[in-house]
């Protein structure tokens, strides 16, 4: 449907205006100017920050440079989470542009994975796609693809080519009509209030009685406190791609249209702002 394709485009072309600032503790030859960049919500930090690195390296001595990493208000930003998820989780209700601090030393090994090259991001991305397809189609679709098809998915993301990516990703979104959806919905629920990185369990898009299950049904089972009961004050926002979908939205449709390129539906549960 044309309207649904517009949703896919809006999701793909979501951007977050960001201001990168070099950490004050870094030793520089001269003062570093901040660097402004529109970050794609669906991409990964280390994949789209080559220019940022180049910009700050100009003012630094090569001997002071180690692996680059990012931090927002004291929280190290995990590059293996999509950028949109990081923003929704940590900074969704702050003033734009998003202020990210760039570091070149004291890499927090406890909190972050190392990312020496883009091949690491590619491996992580393809691993997520395979995991998602294992849940959706018992890996049948991704296993039927050729190496070049996998490459097309990755290149589509890397070069921000919507058509290139979706020409292949469309196959990962198909399902038998008589089954009414995927086998299981690949989803992850993130929360800032817990030490658990995320919630991920098996959940079908259709009930045993044949009823379509919704976002509300998923939350009721996985994270009941995220749902506001009648007469209760709203305590949490359920955010996907920077918006709050209605709880009656069918989960299958959400998975097909609001999943990230890694084919997972990333759901952020954040406290409602008090002001």
């Amino acid at each position: 449907m044309a309207d649904d394709k517009d949703v896919l485009r809006d999701v793909w072309f979501g951007r977050i205006p960001t201001c990168f600032t070099l950490n004050q503790d870094e030793v520089t030859e001269r003062e570093a100017e901040p660097y402004y960049l529109l970050l794609p919500r669906v991409s990964y930090l280390t994949l789209v920050t080559d220019k940022v690195k180049k910009h700050f390296l100009k003012v630094m001595r090569s001997e002071d440079v180690e692996e680059m990493w990012f931090e927002y208000e004291g929280t190290p930003l995990k590059w293996h989470y999509p950028i949109g998820v990081l923003f929704d989780l940590h900074a969704s209700n702050t003033v734009l542009p998003w202020n990210i601090t760039v570091h070149f030393k004291s890499f927090p090994d406890q909190d972050l994975l190392h990312c020496p090259s883009n091949s690491i991001i590619e491996a992580h991305f393809m691993s997520s796609i395979k995991e998602a397809d294992a849940l959706k189609h018992k890996s049948q679709v991704v296993n039927d693809m050729q190496k070049k098809d996998h490459k097309q998915l990755w290149m589509g993301l890397q070069n921000d080519k919507f058509d290139q990516f979706w020409a292949m990703n469309r196959k990962l979104m198909e399902y038998p009509t008589e089954e009414g959806g995927f086998r299981y919905i690949p989803f992850r629920i993130y929360q800032t209030m817990s030490d658990r990185p995320f919630i991920q369990k098996l959940f079908r898009p259709v009930s045993p009685e044949g009823n379509t299950l919704t976002l509300g049904d998923l939350l009721k089972e996985m994270y009941p406190t995220a749902i506001t009961n009648d007469g209760e004050q709203k305590r949490y926002q359920v955010v996907i791609h920077g918006i709050e979908p209605l709880l009656e939205t069918p989960l299958q449709w959400l998975s097909e249209h609001l999943s990230h390129p890694d084919n997972f539906l990333h759901i952020c549960v954040i406290p409602t702002p008090t002001d």
Binding site: V11, G14, R15, I16, L38, P97, A167, G242
Partner: protein, 246 residues
């Protein structure tokens, strides 16, 4: 469109109005300016190097032309990249078109087989309708027959009731007749018994003086008494079974 879907679409648009659209213009301009700045900086560096080497000093016009040339080259690079991108998009679109055409053909096949199935079902339905109609006619005829038989049965029942009634009356009359006969018999037996007693008493009275004078002349001949007794027995034999209710 479903409410939830329009909500998602509106939400995404609002998000872009908040996060993307106010910034995209200024961020793009900034990026372009940075690129230009990099080119000019590169030219300046190159020129200063050539001057250091004691090369020929170039005039202001040459400098400007060189700058324009670099910028054009940069632009050309970008345009050729765009052309390459568009070509790959075109290939993708062609592949997509083929995919959709194959899907259309698949759906057409499905539609054809479904239409055939539908025709078969229609034929079956019309056969079933015909059978149902004939069966409904049969049912109507059977209902009429059933009604007729029911009426006949009612009539026969009435007749039977009437006959039973008549038979009961007849039996009642028969029982009355028999009872009357039994009463008569009873009365007759009673009278016979009394008569017998009376007769015996009379006989005793008459026999006493005779016995005292001569035993042989006063004896009642046994045949008379036996005759009376026999008569009573005969009456009893006749009356006893008829008293029992039929």
């Amino acid at each position: 469109m479903e409410t939830w879907k329009s909500h998602v679409r509106a939400g995404l648009q609002q998000r872009d109005h908040r996060e993307k659209l106010p910034f995209v213009g200024v961020f793009t301009s900034l990026s372009q300016l940075e690129e230009m700045f990099e080119i000019r900086k590169q030219i300046l560096e190159d020129q200063s190097k050539s001057l250091d080497r004691g090369g020929v000093e170039v005039g202001k016009n040459t400098r400007l032309l060189q700058l324009q040339l670099r910028e054009s080259e940069h632009l050309e690079e970008k345009l050729s990249q765009t052309v390459s991108d568009l070509t790959s998009v075109l290939y993708l679109k062609e592949a997509e078109l083929q995919y959709w055409q194959s899907r259309v053909s698949q759906y057409r096949q499905e539609a054809l087989s479904l239409a055939k199935g539908s025709n078969t079902l229609k034929a079956t339905l019309s056969e079933i309708e015909f059978t149902a109609e004939s069966q409904s006619k049969e049912l109507a005829a059977l209902r009429i027959e059933n009604k007729r038989l029911h009426e006949a049965l009612t009539q026969v029942w009435t007749e039977k009731e009437r006959l039973v009634q008549r038979w009961m009356e007849e039996k009642k009359e028969e029982a009355d007749r028999l009872n009357k006969y039994n009463d008569t018999q009873e009365r007759w037996q009673h009278l016979a018994k009394q008569l017998k007693k009376h007769f015996q008493r009379e006989m005793v009275k008459e026999c006493v003086p005779i016995v005292t004078s001569s035993m042989s002349t006063t004896e009642t001949p046994p045949s008379v008494i036996q005759g009376i007794n026999n008569t009573t027995d005969v009456h009893q034999r006749h009356s006893k079974p008829s008293l029992e209710p039929t």
